[in-house]
Amino acid sequence: MKRVLATASGGGHWEQLMLLVQDFPSCDLRFATTDAGQAAHSGKLRVLTLPDCNLTQPISALHCAVVSLGHVWRFRPQVVISTGAAPGFFCILWGRMLGARTLWIDSIANADQISLSGRMALLIGARCLTQWEHLANDARVEFKGSVL
């Protein structure tokens, strides 16, 4: 069984993740999110909780970084995918450092430029998808489709 971690903050990021994650064959799929109530409402049971944070607030970011490291360390995912935002980036970061392949799907909310978390994910070598065709560039940021 391939261990797959699918992660997103609560709200729109989570709704997008729900549209993109299906029952991947022969995978041990686990979720990580900031809003356990919303995850339960989506019928997801195997959910790890992350504190919310954003990359411009160092204390909250540090807290989230530590908690997400704990989750990723214990679960040891072989694949990490995220639809954002900063908590998802940390899961991608630790996943990448522990050898997972990582995919960042930038939120459709980012129609002008890739989000800060997305640019960070690119920087550490995650694959990156945008949901706006005009934001795709050569091979680094690809467009395959969108949820809307």
Binding site: L19, A40, I105, A111, G145
Partner: protein, 161 residues
């Protein structure tokens, strides 16, 4: 009934004040999820936050959803086939960290069942258009399947097909 929401994270008093002013002209009940705010609306049934199940039940009963330009609410409206009015937050007024909601709203304007009010003065007309629109069809994004396949392919083999 019209359901007003500012999402789950940040208050958005400008929208709540605006719909509170407009409600008497509309002849429809409004229920609002206001987020954290000290403003007490007089013409709306309001609560800082509804639980996910209660919120979904309200949304499924609503004729129209009026919302900040958050993707969660846009996807919910689409799933429930409800028309939606988007009123974007502005960073210059301290309503969000940046102006991505302005570009989201601008890009989504013109999608079936999505109406955009960039300012308070445009809200009343957008609400009238939204109410007149009625339930929308169940159109899934034409490119969603391709995106799902790309994600599944990445999980299976590491390639984005």
């Amino acid at each position: 009934m019209i359901l007003v929401t500012v999402g789950m994270q940040l208050g958005f008093e400008r929208l709540i004040r605006a719909v509170d002013r407009i409600q008497p002209d509309c002849g429809v009940d409004f229920v609002a999820q206001t987020g954290p705010t000290s403003y007490v609306p007089t013409n709306l049934v309001s609560k800082a936050q509804f639980g996910p199940a209660e919120f979904e039940e309200l949304a499924s009963r609503a004729a129209l959803i009026v919302s900040h330009a958050g993707i969660g609410t846009v996807l919910l409206a689409k799933r429930l086939r409800k028309p939606i009015v988007l009123f974007p937050r502005k960073a210059g007024l301290g309503e969000h960290r940046n102006d991505h909601q302005l570009s989201t709203a601008a890009q989504l304007a013109g999608h079936r069942g999505i109406f955009v009010a960039m300012a308070e003065t445009e809200l009343r007309d957008a609400i009238s258009l939204g109410l007149a629109c009625g339930p929308i069809g169940h159109e899934i994004s034409p490119t969603l399947g391709r995106l799902q396949s790309a994600v599944a392919s990445f999980v299976a083999s590491g390639t984005l097909r």
